[in-house]
């Protein structure tokens, strides 16, 4: 490794942490579900629920539990949405690209 490599890595790391400055966390949260950029449903994270998102792209079972939201199962090819696990903070998302599905946690306002 050269000194240039280390400088390059430091610059890239600094760049990576810029978005952290824009994150804020607060109380009441909602999960906004959209499919192919269109709003599908908004649910509150306060109440446990199971939501079946069935569209022409496929099916995802979304579970809301203890103020977290997760994709419990899906019939997509890559299962990345399922493996993304639970999310709970505003700004966090779960995406299922094959199904054009996006779940975003937002602050309720």
């Amino acid at each position: 490794m050269k000194i240039n490599d280390i400088l390059l890595i430091i610059v890239l790391l600094l760049f990576s942490f810029i978005p952290l400055a824009f994150i804020n966390r607060s109380a009441a949260k909602i999960a906004v579900v959209s499919v192919n950029n269109e709003h599908y449903k908004t649910v509150s994270l306060d109440k446990d629920a199971v939501l079946t998102v069935k569209t022409k792209y496929g099916e995802n079972i979304v579970k809301i539990e203890n103020n977290t939201v997760a994709v419990e199962s899906a019939d997509c090819a890559d299962k990345i949405c399922v493996r993304s696990g639970k999310i709970e903070n505003a700004g966090e998302v779960i995406a299922c690209l094959p199904h054009r599905l996006l779940i975003e946690v937002k602050e309720d306002d």
């Binding site: 390059l8 890239l12 790391l13 950029n37 890559d78 094959p98």
Partner: protein, 163 residues
């Protein structure tokens, strides 16, 4: 020439296997589409052993095949964007002559994940993806360093074999 073509074909097969292994590994994924991009080791190796053009060919073939095997143009766009952008930046950095394989590969890992987040942003149209830059880009740098190590070891041995 035939030998080179055969080796390139093997590299495509190898990167496809790495890609497959990665997609079935139960990695703790803390972000959408989080992937380590271990198939990148083939890109880095091909870039240094042959050329940017050959690395591009191998990459494009692998991406096309993997999209055919696992579903769809979205996945193709997603993995092609990561791979191509990363190769482009790595080629520039390598050409500049200012960085070693480690720096080049680390930047490649960074760009790979950055490009994928940008594609996810455009497909799903959500600012939320930008928050993941703080997680996935450092992961990309770390993966890039490991890939750089593996690639340099392979290159060293291949060159020993050649002479």
């Amino acid at each position: 020439m035939i030998k080179k073509t055969a080796l390139l074909a093997n590299l495509v097969a190898l990167s496809l296997i790495l890609f497959l292994i990665e997609s079935v590994l139960p990695l703790p994924l803390f972000a959408p589409g989080a992937k380590l991009g271990i198939a990148q080791v083939v890109t880095v190796f091909t870039l240094y052993y042959f050329s940017a053009k050959d690395a591009f060919l191998v990459l494009l073939t692998r991406t096309t095949l993997s999209a055919m095997f696992f579903g769809g143009p979205t996945i193709f766009l997603y993995s092609a964007a990561g791979g191509i952008f990363s190769l482009f930046i790595m080629t520039l950095l390598k050409k500049s002559g200012k960085f070693s394989l480690y720096g080049v590969s680390a930047a490649g890992g960074f760009c790979h994940n950055l490009a994928q987040l940008i594609v996810a942003y455009f497909i799903l149209n959500s600012n939320a993806f930008f928050h993941y830059i703080s997680v996935l880009c450092p992961v990309g740098i770390a993966t890039g360093l490991v890939i750089g190590y593996v690639a340099s070891e392979i290159l060293r041995r291949m060159k020993l074999l050649k002479s």
